[in-house]
């Protein structure tokens, strides 16, 4: 036994102990979230950090039947995020293709403008956008959530790099065979670029799904609001800390996080590279 202990405590194993401790600490909040979603409110307040004393599905029952505002928010988020990804990927890939494969008047100027706007904090857009949307009746709509920030500069840079790597000879030979520019783009370039489009879509998903500030200001009608705006409302609307339905909130958090976590575990390398390699942090 002692020998085993010595073996485990070899200096070379220190890194494994460190990693184990770090992983436990880092995953502990997720453990609290998932375990808490199966607890009764009294169980959560008595034992917030441990396993449930008795597993209950009550919170999920409430989530799906009586307090459906969160599910509504979830569906809103799914719809808005999906449409946003489709729209922004289409717009951005077309724009990036023009930059990658064509020479045209004003290209350098446009490029500089795009580069310069990347420095502007997105919050700068809030006061004018709010006024614009209020005036055009776009507040409290899905449209504003989908269209609002669909054209962002960084996507052009990200996809342009990739499109530039598509060999010109392939495009030329398709042209000689009589394919139109749109056919070349949609049937040849896009399918060849699925990895880049995927990476872009992941980033866009992450931005839209997590977005709080913009929808919180532009969407006051909760039937159209995304999940991330509705969730914190459960904390503030009661005003009384003791009345906050924490177990329900945790069930909601678990419900929206599990699909993302599963997707992450399947696509981990792809997600990690696209969230870090482009080094665009929002």
């Amino acid at each position: 036994m002692k020998r085993l202990n010595n073996k485990l405590l070899k200096p070379g194993n220190f890194k494994y102990i460190y990693l184990l401790v770090a992983c436990i600490i880092f995953l502990f909040p997720l453990f609290i979230m998932i375990m808490g979603s199966f607890k009764t409110p009294t169980d959560l307040s008595r034992n917030p950090g441990g396993f449930p004393t008795k597993i209950t599905l009550e919170n999920y029952y409430i989530l799906f039947t009586s307090n459906i505002v969160l599910i509504r928010g979830f569906l809103n988020s799914v719809y808005v995020t999906l449409m946003y990804i489709i729209l922004s990927t289409l717009l951005t890939s077309m724009g990036a293709y023009a930059f990658a494969k064509f020479q045209f008047k004003g290209k350098d100027f446009l490029f500089m403008v795009l580069l310069a706007t990347m420095m502007i904090p997105k919050q700068v857009l809030i006061p004018p956008q709010y006024l614009m949307f209020a005036k055009t009746g776009l507040l409290d709509t899905y449209t504003v959530q989908i269209v609002g920030n669909a054209a962002k500069a960084f996507g052009i840079f990200m996809l342009r790099q990739y499109f530039e790597a598509v060999p010109d000879s392939i495009l030329e030979s398709a042209k000689i065979e009589g394919a139109g520019q749109w056919t070349i783009f949609s049937r040849l370039v896009l399918p060849m670029s699925t990895p880049a489009l995927g990476a872009f879509a992941i980033l866009q998903f992450n931005n839209k799904w997590n977005d709080f500030l913009f929808p919180a200001l532009y969407i006051r009608n909760l039937t159209k609001a995304p999940f991330m705006v509705i969730l914190p409302q459960l904390v503030t609307e009661e005003g009384n800390e003791l009345m906050v339905p924490w177990t329900l909130i945790l069930a909601g958090c678990t419900f929206v996080s599990i699909p993302v976590i599963i997707a992450f575990l399947f696509l981990q390398d792809k997600i990690m590279t696209s969230m870090t390699a482009g080094a665009v942090k929002e």
């Binding site: 995953l27 609290i32 077309m94 006061p127 709010y130 997590n210 500030l213 996080s257």
Partner: protein, 293 residues
């Protein structure tokens, strides 16, 4: 023939058009509008009144504004050091580990990154709660992590560290694989131990990556809004003690002071711009890592 050439010339514009349409309406126009607003008094109705630099002047003369500037800088600096120490040491540990351990540890350490900020803030409210929070329950105490002015900002920082480590960790891990194997081998033959190797060779080589991560993180933290607000107040109106600069903008929008809000936005831009200038001076001529990839 001429006709055909004209068509060819139109093609890039046709591809660009949809993007530019949205970009101009929802980005360029608001930027100009916002700049214009920052010199006007406008409450959303009636005629805007030109007030010159008064919006900026008023922000500067509010002690409240300077508190938010202080808070924001506090967040930038206080969360960076622990984040970098934790994530670099984790990257080193993973880098030195067996392949199988790497495959498991890497995604687990990154995992907090994929949890939405708002959800994370909810979980951390339970961790930090005064009555029956996880930490107070464990310690048998009643510390007001979310209500005591001495603690509040640190609670925000702890959550920020938890959320940031995964991102830094993956970047550092990639950096470590770039550190040339030859240099490491040479150090090994020289008999340099792990710590000597790390401090004498690895860290100096990775200096640029450290600088780069600091600048990226500083830029995004200057714009922080969700973490302090949702964690401390559950909404958009956190107490002044934790308010970031972005809160000044948001509060003004919610109260209908659009000129004042725009001015706050442009001051925020000025700060981000300064950091960007520092970034370009530091990385000019060096590796491309400072720009896009």
């Amino acid at each position: 023939m001429i006709r055909m050439q004209r068509d060819e010339k139109m093609i890039p514009y046709l591809f660009l058009f949809p993007y530019l349409f949205f970009f101009v309406i929802f980005f360029i126009y608001p930027i100009g509008f916002s700049f214009w607003l920052s010199f006007h008094k406008f409450r959303g109705y009636g005629e805007p009144v030109f007030v010159g630099l008064k919006n900026f002047y008023r922000l500067f003369s509010y002690s409240k504004f300077w508190v938010t500037v202080g808070n924001t800088f506090f967040y930038v600096i206080a969360h960076w050091l622990p984040t970098i120490v934790i994530s670099f040491s984790l990257a080193l540990a993973v880098h030195e580990s067996a392949k199988a351990v790497q495959r498991i540890a890497k995604p687990l350490i990154f995992l907090p990154q994929v949890i939405a900020t708002v959800s994370s803030a909810m979980i951390f409210r339970i961790i930090f709660a005064k009555n029956s929070g996880v930490i107070n329950n464990l310690l048998g105490t009643q510390i007001g992590f979310l209500s005591d002015p001495d603690w509040m900002r640190w609670s925000v920082v702890i959550m920020m560290v938890w959320r940031a480590v995964g991102w830094f960790f993956v970047i550092f891990l990639a950096g470590l694989t770039l550190v040339s194997k030859d240099v490491e081998e040479a150090a090994k033959i020289d008999g340099a131990g792990f710590f000597r190797r790390t401090f004498r060779i690895t860290i100096p080589i990775m200096k640029n990556i450290f600088m780069f991560t600091f600048i990226m993180e500083a830029k995004s933290t200057l714009m922080v809004f969700v973490e302090p607000n949702i964690l401390i107040s559950g909404g958009m109106s956190a107490p002044l003690r934790v308010k970031p600069i972005a809160s000044i903008l948001v509060d003004n929008v919610r109260n209908g002071y659009f000129g004042q809000a725009s001015a706050a936005g442009w001051l925020l831009f000025l700060l981000v711009f300064l950091v960007t200038i520092i970034q370009f001076t530091l990385f000019r001529g060096k590796s491309e890592r400072g720009t896009n990839k």
